[in-house]
């Protein structure tokens, strides 16, 4: 069977097993251990061939599966007439794994519910508290009734991070999204001239926006390729300087 799924598509060996069980349309209460083990191992093998760092948890699960598989084989050596009795008395070696799978699946589904709630919540917008400093008198320097925890502080920070920014007028937003590399290259050359031809590499990244940083970096690479700038570093970990050509 061909798998074109990556390891990071799974949240661990239990998740991978659930995936196999679902895609093979197997009854979770009656897992054909031999075939599922085979599938599981071939999956792990594929990941290894891809030189992916197979987390140790996956290998532990492989060992568990093999152990169950060998236990399952044992009763077959018993006499036929005793077989039924044996089965009733001895615990099914798969039980523990099945329980773990079912328990895990429960929370995996709960996680999906949470994801939906998260999306729903994303549809409603709130506003930050108004500035009410005009209404309050001087705060007293009283610490005694301070009742906040570190988590309240983190919570406030989260609200701040979540706070949505008003977008620029729609028309200018579109032009803002794309920064042509060519334009950024010209800007850099100009900046270097202004700075007397030499500037710290990091000073060429004035705007800490992903888009801008990436474009700036590509612009520098392109300028280097065209030999329009020189880049120099005096030693390992020293500051990198960018210089313009005369």
């Amino acid at each position: 069977m061909q798998y074109n799924v990556k390891i990071d598509a799974f949240e661990g060996p239990l998740d991978l097993l659930l995936h196999l069980i679902n895609s093979l349309e197997i009854d979770i209460y009656d897992i054909p251990v031999a075939s599922i083990t085979e599938q599981y191992l071939s999956f792990i093998h594929t990941m290894k061939e891809l030189e992916l760092d197979v987390a140790s948890e996956y290998l532990v699960m492989a060992a568990t599966l093999l152990a169950i598989k060998s236990k399952m084989l044992l009763p077959q050596h018993d006499e036929n007439l005793e077989e039924e009795l044996e089965f009733e008395m001895e615990e099914d070696p798969r039980n523990e794994l099945v329980e773990r799978l079912i328990e895990y699946r429960k929370y995996k589904e709960a996680a999906t519910d949470l994801k939906h709630l998260e999306e729903e919540r994303g549809l409603i917008f709130t506003k930050p508290p108004s500035d009410m400093s005009d209404y309050s008198k001087e705060q007293t320097a009283d610490k005694s009734n301070l009742d906040v925890s570190l988590y309240d502080m983190l919570g406030a920070l989260q609200k701040l991070l979540r706070r949505r920014k008003l977008q620029k007028p729609l028309s200018t937003r579109i032009s803002r999204q794309e920064i042509p590399i060519e334009q950024r290259m010209q800007e850099i050359v100009r900046e270097l001239k202004k700075a007397g031809r030499r500037k710290k590499f990091f000073d060429l990244f004035p705007i800490h926006e992903k888009e801008h940083i990436v474009v700036t970096f590509l612009a520098i690479l392109e300028l280097m390729k065209r030999s329009e700038i020189l880049v120099e570093q005096e030693g390992n970990f020293a500051d990198i300087y960018v210089m313009g050509k005369e």
């Binding site: 895990y104 429960k106 709960a110 996680a111 994801k115 988590y151 983190l154 949505r164 008003l166």
Partner: protein, 195 residues
């Protein structure tokens, strides 16, 4: 007449409090009425907002606080205007971890890891940093491992009034699963017939 008056004051108060929200206690203190009366006023105000298409905001309750928020149905317009932060959504690992903690709190990291079958340090770190979970105590016995539970921010983040509003855990998985299988069967069956 007085109720009308209070409605307006309540709106002013809720507006000013913003996403910090107001507790019933605060509302009743400022309006100088008892809490039962305060609940009535809040509910009346909420009904007015919800039933009036002229209104674009309403009251929501997250945790123990009430706050104003825009109506869901207007989100398409709002999305044209304000940008949602890109850090918005939680990863699958974080969601699973959070689900386990939410339903089984207080719980230690080790116990979470037993259920998930993988290391869970990082998702827990993320959730603490996002103030969705916090240390609520220490487990007894050696090691005294940290016990985690959910926070106020958790309720706000998922729009819940209390933990009781969490969707029930799918306990009777078997039936559901069989149903699912049956559905799948009919689907396949249909496909076969249709083709």
């Amino acid at each position: 007449m007085e109720i009308v008056h209070w409605n307006g004051i309540l709106e002013s108060l809720l507006f000013a409090a913003g996403d910090e929200g107001l507790s019933l206690k605060q509302i009743s203190q400022v309006l100088e009425i008892d809490q039962i009366h305060a609940v009535e006023i809040v509910n009346l105000y909420k009904e007015n907002c919800n039933s009036d298409p002229n209104r674009g905001i309403t009251v929501v309750q997250f945790g123990e606080t009430y706050q104003l928020a825009t109506k869901k149905e207007n989100s398409p317009y709002l999305k044209k205007l304000v940008e949602s932060p890109h850090t918005a959504t939680l990863s699958q690992a974080a969601l699973e971890t959070l689900a386990i903690i939410a339903y089984k709190q207080p719980i230690t990291r080790i116990e979470v890891e037993e259920i998930r079958g993988v290391k869970t340090d990082r998702p827990i770190q993320t959730l603490v940093a996002k103030a969705l979970i916090k240390e609520v105590g220490r487990a007894e016995g050696t090691g005294r491992a940290i016990l985690y539970g959910t926070t106020k921010e958790f309720l706000d983040y998922f729009g819940l009034r209390s933990l009781k509003e969490l969707p029930p855990l799918p306990e009777r998985v078997e039936e559901e699963y069989e149903q699912e299988e049956a559905d799948l069967f009919f689907e396949k069956f249909q496909e076969t017939i249709d083709s």
